[in-house]
């Protein structure tokens, strides 16, 4: 017996508790979904039955159809709406839709209040698994530089009403045909498939692709993928996998920023640890320790970042300050939590894991056992350490981020030496470098919006590679110049590059021999 009737509009305020329980089955996902739907100002929702979900049908034919247990073929889809002024998705509106001509204006109004959908896949008994879910993300914020760049438009049809939602597809692992890593890849493919024109495999197909080169692994039930197996799946859809193990937080922020800015989703391998909280007799926290033995492995898909309250990078001996170091959090699709969940960088404090002093990422994960571990010790939450980034790239993006850093460092060092030679003053504070990958159309689109500057016309008329690396030099909070590297080039003989100057003093400095 389903707790809700189909094709009836419910008030979210009145039914939220029952609905969250129905969707998440009281797991650690409950608070995450509850917060997300509340933040999106959900006003009403409606359930659709007998929904045919393509990804589930493929998984069904790959596995569930040949189980003895009679799994259902159809899913349930829940649509969510907010309210704009007095306009809301109500029973009256539903009645109007079924009995009257729906005007363009009404369609547009419905689209404006649409927040997205959650598909519930059949499972054993009344417990359901969260299937393909596309929910609107939190508002983007230019001031705080909160961006969800690895997203795309999803086209939905409800009772013939065309609706559009900008999101990244999310779903939960079913622990049989797909574990977290397959789901993380599936989410990434749902964006790259549209961006680079490749087929978007279902979660079970992702698993099959990933282990197709590992003859020792069985397909299903699957127990998770290694970083290398994830890379194999990326190759099999026709993209080039880039597997990176970030050296530190600064490097991690630089990589996330550089690739996400181009709208490329990043699959992220994580080590999760329980945090052991040690208290005194009065329940005051004395210290927190990481329980090394509690390590578990997880994969998520990074789709956004925020620079809110981020601090400027400092000068150090490598002579390059990264703009990306201002990043304070990034957003991921975590199949064990919810879409666009945040992971926050520590402010610099380190904790000991084995012999290492590491900087953690805070998560919304609950500890595996939230019970007292003897007197004055308890576990409540988990922290994460990023172990790997696997980036699905278009095959023509050949020059890596590390190559660009090296080249930018060289150019920056030469420029500073020249400055000292000419002006006789040592530069104590170097440029802040904003380094990221870009499609040339986006680059020119940005240039065209700039007010007049020397060479603007020449730049717009000039021919560039389809993908470019942009290294923008910022000083005193102003863009001074940028180097546009050909991302499709070979490293041999130096990477092809062009300079764009926004400051004539710098331009003259470059011209001086």
């Amino acid at each position: 017996m389903e707790p809700f009737k189909f094709h009836e509009v419910y008030s979210y305020e009145q039914e939220s508790e029952k609905l969250i329980k129905y969707i998440t089955n009281c797991s650690q996902k409950s608070p995450a979904f509850s917060i997300t739907l509340k933040y999106l100002q959900t006003y009403s929702f409606i359930l659709e039955d007998n929904y045919v979900d393509k990804d589930y049908l493929v998984d069904y034919s790959n596995f569930y159809a040949r189980c003895h247990h009679p799994y259902d073929r159809f899913c349930i889809r829940i649509h969510f709406f907010t309210k704009h002024n007095t306009f809301s998705f109500s029973e009256e509106l539903l009645h109007h839709i079924f009995t009257n001509n729906l005007t363009e204006e009404k369609r547009s109004q419905i689209n404006d209040i649409y927040l997205g959908f959650i598909v519930l896949r059949p499972s054993k008994g009344i417990i359901k698994t969260i299937g393909c879910t596309c929910l609107r993300h939190y508002d983007e914020d230019v001031e705080r530089n909160r961006i969800y760049s690895a997203t795309r438009n999803y086209y939905v049809n409800l009772y013939g009403i065309p609706l559009v939602i900008k999101s990244m597809a999310f779903q939960e692992q079913d622990q049989t045909v797909a574990m977290c890593s397959s789901i993380a890849l599936w989410s990434a493919f749902s964006v790259t498939g549209r961006k680079y024109q490749h087929l978007i495999p279902s979660p079970s197909d992702v698993t099959k692709l990933a282990i197709s080169e590992s003859s020792y692994s069985r397909n299903f039930p699957n127990e998770g993928l290694t970083a290398e197996q994830i890379a194999v799946a990326i190759s099999k859809v026709g993209l080039s996998p880039l597997l990176i193990r970030p050296k530190d937080d600064r490097n991690l922020k630089a990589l996330i920023y550089a690739y996400l800015k181009a709208g490329i989703p990043i699959v992220c391998g994580l080590h999760l640890y329980d945090v052991l909280i040690i208290e005194d007799e009065n329940s005051n926290v004395i210290r927190e320790e990481i329980d090394v033995n509690s390590v578990s492995f997880h994969a998520v898909t990074i789709n956004g970042y925020s620079f809110e309250n981020g601090l400027e990078d400092i000068d150090f001996k490598d002579g390059i300050r990264f703009y990306s170091n201002r990043m304070t959090k990034f957003y991921v699709h975590d199949d064990q939590l919810c879409p666009f969940t945040k992971m926050e960088f520590s402010k610099g404090e380190r904790k000991k894991i084995g012999n290492m002093l590491v900087k953690e990422l805070t998560t919304s994960w609950l500890a595996s056992e939230s019970v007292l571990e003897g007197q004055n010790k308890k576990k409540e939450k988990k922290i994460a350490i990023v172990s790997s980034l696997i980036i699905p790239l278009y095959h023509k993006i050949r020059i890596s981020h590390a190559d660009i850093i090296k080249e930018t460092q060289r150019i920056s060092k030469n420029l500073i030496e020249k400055y000292k030679l000419i002006y006789g003053v040592k530069v104590e504070k170097t440029f802040e470098w904003d380094i990221f990958l870009s499609e040339i159309s986006e680059f020119k689109n940005e240039i065209i919006q700039f007010p007049y500057f020397k060479n603007k016309e020449l730049i717009l008329k000039d021919s560039y590679a389809k993908y470019v690396w942009r290294a923008r030099a910022i000083a005193n909070n102003e863009l001074q110049f940028e180097i546009v590297f050909d991302a499709t080039d070979s490293k041999v003989g130096g990477i092809a590059k062009k300079y764009i100057f926004y400051n004539e003093v710098i331009e003259r400095l470059f011209e001086l021999k």
Binding site: D248, R250, I314, R350, N355, L357, V425, F431, A475
Partner: protein, 159 residues
């Protein structure tokens, strides 16, 4: 007791019995580094070199974990640590009247204590790496007559 001996005593006091034996050679090398603090190397290199002297497994530097891995990874880790310490130091010195190179009436001891406390509070660690870093900075600043490392008064003039 002269300044270098005092600084080495600070470092020594932050070690336990076992570590004093483990790092006996490192402490000797640190003494030499302190004596040569006014050589041409930059502050960043100097602090990294001082921290690197203590690259043993037990204190959080990564020799064990990175066994079989490249030296680049080890260096990247130490650089990251030193960069963080520098960031904490600059945060601590911001809007504070702390002269790192003043030796009048042993004010350098107060500066050192201030630095250690401020960095430890931000880093969430009470690790002797903080003591090594802070001692190295003080010695470098006094040897090179630098009163504050984090001032932005030599910004690039662009117009």
């Amino acid at each position: 007791m002269d300044r270098i001996d005092s600084l080495l005593t600070f470092v020594n006091d932050s070690l336990d019995e076992k570590d004093r034996i483990t790092y006996a050679t490192s402490l000797d090398a640190l003494k030499k580094k302190f004596e040569n603090a006014n050589s041409s190397t930059s502050l960043d290199n100097y602090s990294v070199e001082c921290l690197s002297l203590f690259n043993k497994a037990e204190i959080g530097l990564p020799q064990e974990l990175y066994k079989g891995s490249s030296l680049d990874d080890v260096n990247a880790y130490i650089n990251d640590l030193a960069r963080d310490f520098k960031q904490f130091m600059c945060n601590a010195l911001k809007n504070r009247d702390v002269n790192l190179s003043s030796t009048a009436n042993d004010t350098w001891k107060n500066s050192l204590q201030y630095l250690i406390g401020a960095i430890a509070a931000q880093a969430g660690l009470n690790n002797f790496l903080i003591v090594i870093f802070s001692c190295s900075i003080i010695q470098y600043c006094i040897a090179n007559n630098i009163d504050n490392l984090c001032r932005d008064d030599n910004n690039m003039t662009l117009s």
